[in-house]
Every structure is written in structure tokens, then in C-alpha cells.
């Protein structure tokens, strides 16, 4: 992250959670525009929760998230658990075209330029020739490619990917990771929740290690050191037992300091 880059996101003492039980505590700081950031951490560390907070699906219990220079509905977000009904009878090109919603809305017809962009997005994810195939006939990897094509058309300055490579073969991961690199080269900010540390080391210059609170943040090599990982595991286990406890580790430490 260059020091001169403007922030695209600012967390102000942010606490997020479900039913008033916090899942991520007291997050502070900024994410610079143009960052390529991996979010890692043990299960239940609050990684997905953080993305849901950023897109506004979850309201902060405390503090706030500021978006700089873009609207919530323009964030491109690939949810881990999507409500997508893959048995719905819609063909790939129509499915991908929904990425143009911000420009065309519910009612305007697609012009020639739009149709070309849809075609180009489908080509970019390697699904050319399958434009008229119903999404129900796609493999898991092909469907994920189609969802990436929809993200391309959303043309958002901020892309959030929640475990995008869940159950996907190596070829697809390689192709999609190349797309992510391209998005970042175009100046977009990409934040990905990931589990595969070797993939993170290879692809992501910056990493945020979460275990319900920030364990470490910065250059990937530094963040993913053995000591930090050990601390994250320790925190996750310590909080695992009373995962519903409304008081967080950070609060306790703060009290000790007083």
C-alpha cells in the first residue's frame, strides 16, 4: 500500500455481530484504494461478517464503516452463501447481464455496446460458446466463472470475494486468480476472504489476520508468520467456548490497562 493512496474504506471502532453478539470487535483503520488484501483467520473469526458489514447486509453494533467515493449498491460482492437458485431457467448470458444493473436498471433495454460487453465478460472468464446454456447445466467451477463475469460487468472500484475458490478445481482457480490480478492492475480494490495460505502468499501483497479482532495486518509475509498464526489459533480457541459472550478480548485487555 502506498502512503499517498486515498482510502476507499475506513473502519471507525467497528463492531459487527448477530443478534447483538459481536463477531468482529473494535476494528480501526483504513484500506487504501487500489489495495489487494487477503482476509484470513480461523473459522468463526468474523471474516465473512466483515464483508457483510461492508456491503451493508449487517449493521454495525458499534462504530461505523465509511465508504469513500462509492455507493453501497455499487460494491461488487461475491457472497460465500449466495441465494442464487442454480435450477432457475436462465441462460448464462442473461445471468451475467444482471451485472449491468447499476447502469441499465430494471427497465432499460441493452444496446449493442452492452451486448458486446456481456460477450466480452463471458469470454474473459472462459465461457465463450456457452452463452445460451442454462446455468443449471454448469459445473461448480463454470458457475463460479459466470459469477465472476457478472462481477466484471459491475465494473466496481471495490470487489469483495468471500472464499471464491471453495470447491473449485486448480485450473479454474488459476484463471480466476488471473482475473483478480487484472482487476487490481486496473486500480480496483480487491478484498478476498481466503483459507489457502500459499495462494495468499503468492497472490496478495497485503493480509489482514482476524480472530474476532485484528491479530495482525500488513505485508503478507510478516502477517502470516508462525507467531501470529499461533496467536490467532489461541484467540479462536479461547473465544470458542464462550463464543456468545458479549464482552470481547479487546475490552478485557483495555480494562487491564486501566
Amino acid at each position: 500500500m502506498s502512503a499517498s493512496a486515498l482510502p476507499i474504506l475506513r473502519f471507525d471502532n467497528l463492531t459487527l455481530g448477530y443478534n447483538r453478539h459481536p463477531a468482529v470487535h473494535h476494528l480501526r483503520g483504513e484500506i487504501a484504494a487500489g489495495s489487494l488484501l487477503a482476509v484470513v483467520g480461523p473459522n468463526g473469526a468474523g471474516k465473512s461478517t466483515l464483508l457483510k458489514g461492508i456491503v451493508g447486509e449487517l449493521r454495525p453494533i458499534q462504530g461505523r464503516i465509511e465508504l469513500m467515493g462509492l455507493k453501497r449498491e455499487n460494491i461488487a460482492y461475491l457472497a460465500q452463501q449466495s441465494t442464487l437458485d442454480s435450477s432457475f431457467p436462465i441462460v448464462i448470458s442473461d445471468f451475467v447481464a444482471m451485472g449491468l444493473w447499476a447502469e441499465f436498471g430494471a427497465f432499460r433495454g441493452f444496446d449493442y455496446g452492452a451486448r458486446q460487453r456481456i460477450e466480452a465478460a463471458i469470454a474473459a472468464v472462459g465461457l465463450s460458446g456457452l452463452e445460451n446454456r442454462p446455468i443449471g447445466q454448469l459445473s461448480g467451477g463454470q458457475l463460479q466463472r459466470a459469477r465472476f463475469a457478472r462481477v466484471i460487468l459491475q465494473d466496481s472500484p471495490l470487489v469483495l470475494l468471500d472464499e471464491p475458490y471453495g470447491a473449485i478445481d486448480a485450473n479454474t482457480v488459476r484463471d480466476l486468480a488471473m482475473l483478480v490480478r487484472r482487476w487490481n492492475a486496473e486500480g480496483r480494490t480487491v478484498i478476498s476472504v481466503l483459507h489457502d495460505f500459499s495462494h495468499v502468499r503468492q497472490e496478495y501483497p497485503e493480509t489482514l489476520l482476524l480472530a474476532r479482532e485484528v491479530v495482525a495486518r500488513g505485508a503478507t509475509a510478516d502477517v502470516l508468520c508462525e507467531e501470529n498464526q499461533e496467536r490467532a489459533r489461541h484467540l479462536a480457541e479461547a473465544q470458542g467456548d464462550d463464543a456468545d459472550a458479549p464482552i470481547c478480548h479487546a475490552d478485557i485487555t483495555a480494562q487491564h490497562h486501566h
Binding site: G56, I75, P89
Partner: protein
């Protein structure tokens, strides 16, 4: 004159030329096929086929209260049905979300309470003939007012689907994505439910409370065996609904069957036929070699 004589001699057409009530029944079925069937396609795709059935029964007590005050009056029964249908459509969803009762049970309770209440209210004042009328409809006795009502609901539905196709499709196919990118998501959801209730009322007048859903769900399910894309699916479903209505009406005329059940049963036959010979049906997929590397 010669042409009409020739047509009147053709058994598939002559009943509609000779008898006004057959022409009216056909016009009513045309309206239902164009309006209610496409709505039924989306109902099916949202896995709400049974919810549609429950809502159609819920219309009955509302229509029955209208009947109590005004007899077999089209407007009174329509308004009563509209109020009851929309109330139950909202309630059933709310109860399922907020209690220990799951949605299917919640729908079943509404359906049973509504049906029994409706039958009871009608019996308080009416005859068995009136009861048969509300349970099974009277597609062969559609008057001008009823036809106009069916035609306006159909027109409204067609315009709404044509204008809001992108919204309705995304609301069915990926609702949380729609909610994130557009503020129109509640409009898509509730607007669709209103269309469902309106078309069920239309179906109620023609086919009765027990079979109104028939012309919505059966052609939709049948069409699903033929095409895998939404717009062709809507068109095929409409064609199947029209075909079924026509055959059903002719059957009722020649074999002297009650028209409503004849139409719905014909649609059921077309559904079974589609399952057997449709390219996306179970038989076909057994015969077809599997694609490699694909699910």
C-alpha cells in the same frame, strides 16, 4: 355464409360457433392462459406452488363474506377475496418466519381454516348449487362482467410481467443480489404477490377455489420439460394452457363432463405427456448420453 357452414361442420370448431356460452368460456380461458399461467410459471420457479394453492383457498372465506352480503355478486366476492387473499399471503410468510411452525405447516393451517370457514359461510345462506359454484367455478356461465374482470387481470399481469421481467426474474433467481443492487426489491416481492392474488381470483371465478391454481401450475410444470430458458418457458406454458383449455372445453361439450375439472384434468394429461416426451423430462435424460465433465 358458406364458410361459416363449413366451419360449423367441423367438430373442433362447431360448438364455439353454435353456442355463446362456449365462446365465452373459451374467451375466459384465453384470458386466464395469458395472465394467470405466466404468473404460475414464476410461482413454480419460486417453489411456491403449494403456497399458491393455500392462498387460493384463503380467497374463499373473503369471497364468501362478500356472498353473504350480496349473493353471487361478482364485485362483492372479488373485493372480499382480494382482501382475504392478500392478508393470508402476507400472514403465511410472516408466521413461517417468526414461529416454531414451518412454512408448509403454516400454509396447511391457513388452507384448512379458510376452506372450512368459506364452506360454512356459504352454507349459512346459500344452496348446494351456490357451493358448487364457488368450489368448482362456472366457466360455462361467465357473464360480461366476469369476462371483463378476467380480461383486465390478464392485461394487468401481461403489462406487469413485460415491464418488470428483469426484476421478477432476478427476485426469483438471486433475491439477495437484487436486494443489494436495487431498491426495487420489495416492489418486486409484494407486487408479485398482488399479481398472484389477482389471478387466483380470476381463476376462482372461472374454475372455482379448488382448481384455480390448476391453470397456473400444471402448464408451467409441463413447460419445464420442454425448455430451459425463462422467456420461451413463459410462451410454451401459455400455449399448453390454451391447448388444454380448448381440449377440456370440447371434452366437456361432447362427453358431457363438468367443464372446470375437464380443463384441469386435460392440463394434467398434458403435464404427464410432457414428462414422458419432453426433452428435459426424466425419460429423455435417461436415454441421452451424459455430457462429459458436467453435472
Amino acid at each position: 355464409m358458406h364458410l361459416i357452414d363449413t366451419l360449423a361442420a367441423m367438430p373442433l370448431i362447431s360448438p364455439f360457433i353454435e353456442f355463446g356460452f362456449m365462446r365465452r368460456a373459451l374467451a375466459g380461458c384465453l384470458a386466464l392462459s395469458l395472465g394467470a399461467t405466466p404468473i404460475g410459471v414464476f410461482l413454480m420457479l419460486r417453489r411456491m406452488s403449494l403456497a399458491g394453492d393455500a392462498i387460493s383457498h384463503a380467497i374463499l372465506p373473503g369471497a364468501a363474506i362478500g356472498y353473504l352480503f350480496a349473493g353471487l355478486s361478482l364485485s362483492a366476492m372479488t373485493i372480499g377475496g382480494l382482501v382475504a387473499g392478500i392478508a393470508v399471503a402476507l400472514l403465511a410468510g410472516g408466521v413461517a418466519r417468526n414461529s416454531v411452525i414451518k412454512e408448509d405447516t403454516s400454509l396447511a393451517t391457513f388452507y384448512l381454516i379458510s376452506l372450512s370457514a368459506g364452506v360454512l359461510i356459504i352454507s349459512m345462506r346459500g344452496s348446494n348449487v351456490d357451493l358448487l359454484h364457488v368450489l368448482f367455478g362456472s366457466v360455462l356461465a361467465l357473464d360480461d362482467a366476469a369476462l371483463l374482470l378476467l380480461a383486465s387481470f390478464a392485461s394487468l399481469s401481461i403489462v406487469a410481467i413485460a415491464a418488470g421481467l428483469r426484476l421478477i426474474v432476478l427476485e426469483c433467481c438471486d433475491p439477495s443480489y437484487l436486494a443489494r443492487i436495487s431498491r426495487l426489491s420489495p416492489l418486486a416481492h409484494y407486487g408479485f404477490m398482488v399479481l398472484v392474488v389477482l389471478n387466483l381470483i380470476g381463476g376462482f371465478h372461472a374454475l372455482g377455489t379448488l382448481m384455480a391454481v390448476g391453470i397456473m401450475i400444471l402448464p408451467s410444470a409441463a413447460a419445464r420439460f420442454w425448455v430451459g430458458n425463462i422467456v420461451p418457458l413463459l410462451l410454451v406454458a401459455v400455449v399448453i394452457a390454451l391447448t388444454g383449455s380448448l381440449i377440456g372445453l370440447l371434452l366437456s361439450y361432447y362427453v358431457n363432463l363438468p367443464a372446470g375439472p375437464a380443463i384441469v384434468l386435460t392440463l394434467g394429461g398434458l403435464y404427464l405427456l410432457s414428462m414422458a416426451v419432453g426433452p428435459l423430462g426424466p425419460l429423455f435424460s435417461l436415454l441421452r448420453p451424459r455430457w462429459h465433465f458436467e453435472r
